[in-house]
Amino acid sequence: MTATPGQPAPAGADERLLRTSQLRKLLGRPELGSLVGAVAVFIFFSIVADSFLRATSLGTVLYAASTIGIMAAPVALLMIGGEFDLSAGVMVTSSALISSMFSYQMTANVWVGVFVSLLVTLAFGAFNGFMLTRTKLPSFIITLGTFLMLTGLNLGFTKLISGTVSTKAIGDMEGFASARKVFASEWTVGGVELKVTILWWALLVAVATWILLRTRFGNWIYAVGGGADAARAVGVPVIRTKIGLYLGVAFAAWVSGQHLLFSYDVVQSGEGVGNELTYIIAAVIGGCLITGGYGSAIGSAVGAFIFGMTGKGIVYAEWNPDWFKFFLGAMLLLATLLNAWVRKRAEATK
C-alpha cells in the first residue's frame, strides 16, 4: 500500500503532480475495492456480533482465511494469466492422500511421503498446463476433466489401498512430529492462537506479489492474460508462462494438502469438491477479472479474509447458517460491482 504524503514538499509546481500520481496509483490498484469491502464487513460484524472482536475469534477468522488464501494467491495469478483451474479443490485432497498413503504403505519416514506428494502434485499441475497449451481447448474444460479424474482417483485409490474411504493414521510414524511443526503447528501470542498456515499464506502472497510487480515473469503473466496472441507476437513465452502458473497452483495445493494431513492425521477421500470455486471467488472479490489481464495477489488475500470473516462472523452473530450461501452470493456481486466502479473511476482520472 502506498500512502499519500501528508505534508506537501516545499518544492514548487512539481509537488502537486507528484501527489496526484500517487493518489492515482492508489486508485488504480485492483485490490482497492475489496479493501473497502473488507473494512465494511469487519465493522459490520464488530457491531452485530460481540464475540467477533475477541482476540481468540480473530485467530479463528485468520485461520479460516489462511486456508482459503493459500490457494487463492496462485489461483489469482492464474486468473490474471487468463486461465481457470477447477481441479484446485480436489488436488488439495489428492496431495494429502498421496502423502499419507505412500508413507504408510512403504512404512517410510513421513517426509518421504511429503516429498513424493510434492512431485506428484506438481505433475498434476504440469498435466493441466501441458494439456491446455497442447490441445488449445479452454482451461475450463481441461481442468474440469482433471477435477473429475482426480475425484475418482482419490476415492478409487484410497478404497483400493486402505480398504476404506479414509486413510490410515500415520501419527505414530517417524517424521510426523517435525512435519506437523512445519505444516500444522500453532503458537499462542498474547492469548491468541495463531496457526502456521497464516505464515504460509503471508509468504505465498508476498512471493506472488513480488513475482507480479518485480519480475519479468510477472510481466509475462499480465501479457498472456491480456492477449495471448499479442504476447506471443512480442516474444513472451506463452506456453512456459501458463505451465508455470499451473505449477504454482499445484504447489499451493501441496501446501494445503499437507496442512490437512498433519492437522488431522487422517484424510477423507471425498473432500475438497467445491472448494475450487471458493478460491476463484476469493480472487474475484479481490479484484481479479474473469477475463484475465487484471488483478493482484494482495487482492486475493483480502478476498480470502472477507470470506473468513463472513463464514465465521455468521456463527459469532448467532445467525442461522442456512443463509450463509445467500450472503456469499450477494457479497460476490457487491464486491465485483464495487471493483468495476473503482476501476472505472481510476481509468477516468487518467
Partner: protein, 327 residues
C-alpha cells in the same frame, strides 16, 4: 376461537382443500403448545456442530428435538454444520471462542475433531457427542455419547434380512467418507447369511442416486434386497426398482413421512430407526442436567437411541409423528 373462525372462513371459500396443506399444519402448530421454559436456571448457551450437509432431513429432526429441550430448559441453542472436516473443526473452534456453556458435536470424522474437542474440554466446556463417534467419545473427553452403535444397527439389518429369507443384497452408501456408513454396511454384511455388495452413490444428487441403483439392478437380476442408509434414498431406490423391473425388496435406515407411508402400503420391507429427535433432545437435556446437577447418564458407555426395527404395523402408529417431522 381463531382456529374455528379460520375453518369457517375456509369452508365458505370455494375451491379450497379441506384436507392437508398449510392450514392443517397451522392448526397442528397451534394445538402444539409453544415450548416455554419450565425451569428457572440461568440462560446458558449450548452450541451444536454437526457434519451435516445443507438441507438434510435427518438433521432437521435432530434440531427439532434439541430446540424442544432448549425451550424447556431455558437454553440459548445455536446450530451450525459443515460436511467438510476442516470446516466443522473451525466451527467448533468458533463455538469455543464464543465461550459457550455446553457443546454438542458429531464425530463422523473423529480424527479431524480430536484436537479441537480436546481444546473445548481444556477450556472447561462440557462436551456431549451425538450420532457418530461412540468409540472415540470417551477417549476425547466427552461426558457421554448419544446415538446408535452403527455396527449393531447394521447387524440388526442383516438379521432382519435373514428372517425375510433374502439371498443377495445391495448396500447403498450415499456419503463417501462417512465411517458410520461403512460400519452399517459392514455390520449388515457380517450378520447376513447371503451375499452383500456395496454401491457408492452421490447423495447430493438424487437423480444420479436413482440412475446408479437402476443400472445395478438391471445388471444383476439376482439382487433381492436393497438397503439404503437414509430415508430420502429409499424413495429413489423404489423408483429405480420399478424402472429396472426388479423384484428386490427395499429396506432402509432412518425414517421420514414418506418411508412411514411406504412401510404401511408394503412398498418398503422395513426401516431401522435411530430416533434422531431423541439424539437432539437428550443431548441438550443432558448438558442442562450436567450444568445444573453434575448428572451424567450412561455410566461411561454410549446411550443408545437405536436400532429400532420398524415394520408395517409399527409404521401406522408413527405416521402422525413423521408428518410433523419429529420422527
Amino acid at each position: 376461537m381463531g382456529a374455528v373462525l379460520a375453518a369457517v372462513l375456509g369452508a365458505s371459500l370455494m375451491g379450497c382443500s379441506s384436507t392437508g396443506g398449510k392450514r392443517a399444519e397451522d392448526r397442528a402448530a397451534q394445538a402444539a403448545a409453544e415450548s416455554r421454559s419450565a425451569v428457572n436456571t440461568p440462560r446458558w448457551t449450548f452450541a451444536m456442530v454437526t457434519h451435516s450437509g445443507d438441507g438434510d432431513t435427518f438433521w432437521d429432526i435432530v434440531q427439532k428435538g434439541a430446540k424442544m429441550a432448549a425451550g424447556k430448559d431455558n437454553i440459548n441453542f445455536l446450530y451450525s454444520h459443515n460436511d467438510e472436516a476442516q470446516q466443522q473443526a473451525q466451527l467448533i473452534q468458533a463455538a469455543i471462542d464464543k465461550k459457550v456453556d455446553g457443546l454438542i458435536v458429531t464425530l463422523a470424522k473423529p480424527d479431524a475433531m480430536k484436537d479441537v474437542v480436546a481444546k473445548a474440554v481444556k477450556a472447561g466446556i462440557p462436551v456431549i457427542t451425538v450420532n457418530s463417534g461412540s468409540a472415540e467419545s470417551k477417549q476425547f473427553g466427552a461426558l457421554t455419547h448419544i446415538g446408535q452403535d452403527e455396527s449393531i444397527a447394521g447387524e440388526a439389518v442383516g438379521d432382519e434380512l435373514n428372517k425375510r429369507g433374502r439371498k443377495k443384497a445391495l448396500c447403498i452408501l450415499h456419503e463417501q467418507g462417512n465411517v458410520g456408513h461403512e460400519q452399517r454396511c459392514a455390520g449388515a454384511k457380517k450378520a447376513f447369511d447371503g451375499e452383500m455388495q456395496s454401491l457408492y452413490v452421490e447423495g447430493t444428487n438424487m437423480p444420479d442416486v436413482q440412475a446408479s441403483i437402476e443400472a445395478k439392478l438391471q445388471a444383476d437380476k439376482d439382487i433381492d434386497a436393497v438397503v439404503t442408509l437414509g430415508a430420502p434414498f429409499a424413495d429413489a431406490a423404489v423408483k429405480a426398482k420399478r424402472t429396472a423391473g426388479s423384484k428386490a425388496e427395499i429396506d432402509t435406515f432412518d425414517l421420514n413421512a414418506k418411508v412411514a407411508t411406504a412401510l404401511q402400503d408394503k412398498t418398503l420391507g422395513f426401516a431401522v430407526d435411530q430416533q434422531p429427535y431423541l439424539q437432539g433432545y437428550e443431548a441438550v437435556d443432558l448438558l442442562w442436567l450436567y450444568r445444573y446437577n453434575r448428572n451424567v447418564l450412561g455410566g461411561g458407555r454410549p446411550v443408545l437411541t437405536g436400532p429400532q426395527v420398524i415394520t408395517a404395523q409399527d409404521a401406522a402408529q408413527l405416521a402422525e409423528y413423521t408428518k410433523r417431522g419429529t420422527r
